[in-house]
């Protein structure tokens, strides 16, 4: 009897997995894009020991101010750029990717255009959804964060950072696109370098910002699909175009 129950459970799991896969494919099947399902991780950012960048925002954030690691003197030697944990790791830019993959198990995806499917958007803040994106010979870090800047009013912040220097970052443009329920929201910007702090970018609001009701409108069954594209930037062309 136990054997039958276990078999039945396994079959149900398979059906569920197949259904999830079908759902993900259904959303973006037309473009044939790579869909990456990203599960949330509780953001354990309350330890005051890590993270780079000066805090300029005066907003009443729940997240503590961000400071440069005092021990960092070599500008190429960076504190761990993973915004998930209070991580004491420091290393050169070249090994940040392998650190993020090995220590923090962050997935890396290849492709010019991918779809980031963040699950369980209803879970309480603070929460992070993170992947790395390998494209045009570089690696980028996409961070979606649910955070309460104003108590009781969670918002979603999405940004993309280059695992490289600010000068390298200036050569790219990233685009985040939401498209559902007869609404479309596109954000295009130059990625910041991971040498800057992801917390400052988010607390300054210089990223894609969604309130809860917009996030719900763009979500399908608790999952938010964000289309991501990275191009080499033609800043002056884009500004003259409009």
């Amino acid at each position: 009897m136990l054997f039958f129950t276990q078999c039945f459970g396994a079959v149900l799991d398979l059906i569920h997995l197949r259904f999830q896969h079908y759902k993900a494919k259904r959303v973006f099947s037309a473009a044939g894009q790579l869909v990456c399902v990203v599960n949330p991780t509780h953001s354990l950012k309350y330890a005051p020991t890590r993270c780079a960048g000066a805090q300029t925002s005066t907003e009443q954030g729940v997240i503590p101010p961000c400071h440069y690691h005092e021990s960092v003197h070599d500008p190429q030697l960076v504190a761990c750029t993973c915004p998930l944990f209070s991580c004491p790791w420091e290393g050169h830019l070249e090994v940040v990717v392998s650190h993020l993959r090995q220590t923090h198990r962050i997935n890396i995806l290849q492709g010019a255009e991918i779809v980031f499917l963040a699950t369980d958007m209803h879970l309480p803040a603070p929460m992070d959804w993170i992947i790395m994106h390998s494209c045009l010979g570089h690696q980028f870090l996409l961070v979606l964060r649910k955070q309460e800047k104003y108590e009781g009013h969670p918002q979603f912040f999405a940004t993309m950072m280059l695992i490289g220097t600010p000068t390298q970052a200036d050569n790219f443009t990233y685009r985040l696109e939401l498209n559902r329920n007869q609404r479309r929201l596109k954000w295009e910007a130059t990625p910041r370098s991971v040498l800057e702090c992801v917390d400052s970018v988010i607390s300054d609001g210089d990223c894609l910002v969604l309130n809860t009701s917009l996030a719900q409108l763009f979500s399908d069954n608790g999952s938010l699909a964000i289309g991501i594209a990275i191009t080499t930037s033609k800043v002056h062309g884009a500004e003259a175009e409009m």
Copy 2:
């Protein structure tokens, strides 16, 4: 001497005007779009006597709840749709445009694509920037509002409404686009009907939302340029496209 001073003042004024015109043209000269300079009006919305729509938001707004005019029974007879004043006027949809023009002096612009240049973005909330846009045989109302949903943290909300019924509104898509400082933000949606309440749209956050820092990044010398385009909607095509 007084004559010379006055002449000099007049010449300076002319130079200033010419410079302002040049600036407006400079921003969007490439596309040859019509630029409309829109000055802010202090939002006098605190009188609890007007406006349509049920209040569903639980957010701690400074603006009082919105209620349907109790005297409105004919669904075509609407309370004044101008969100500026506590206006006791009611009228059929057909005469809303002339009411808005004559009583509230709201400008109307023609053209498929226009640029809405909102001045004096630094002025304290609550503040409204409003124009009407005549396009594809219909009139639309564009509302940009600066409002403090959370005390001390003003945000900007922009939405477009059709001066027509919800069924008519479903036939259109509007696009608002900001483009400056290597950032681009696009919002596309179906316009709401003015029979719904602009306050509910804004308090629900179902519109383009900008925090102060983003608004500053997109502003040039205190003015925010919003590119506006209206098309007949092809909703299913757009959703399948992504």
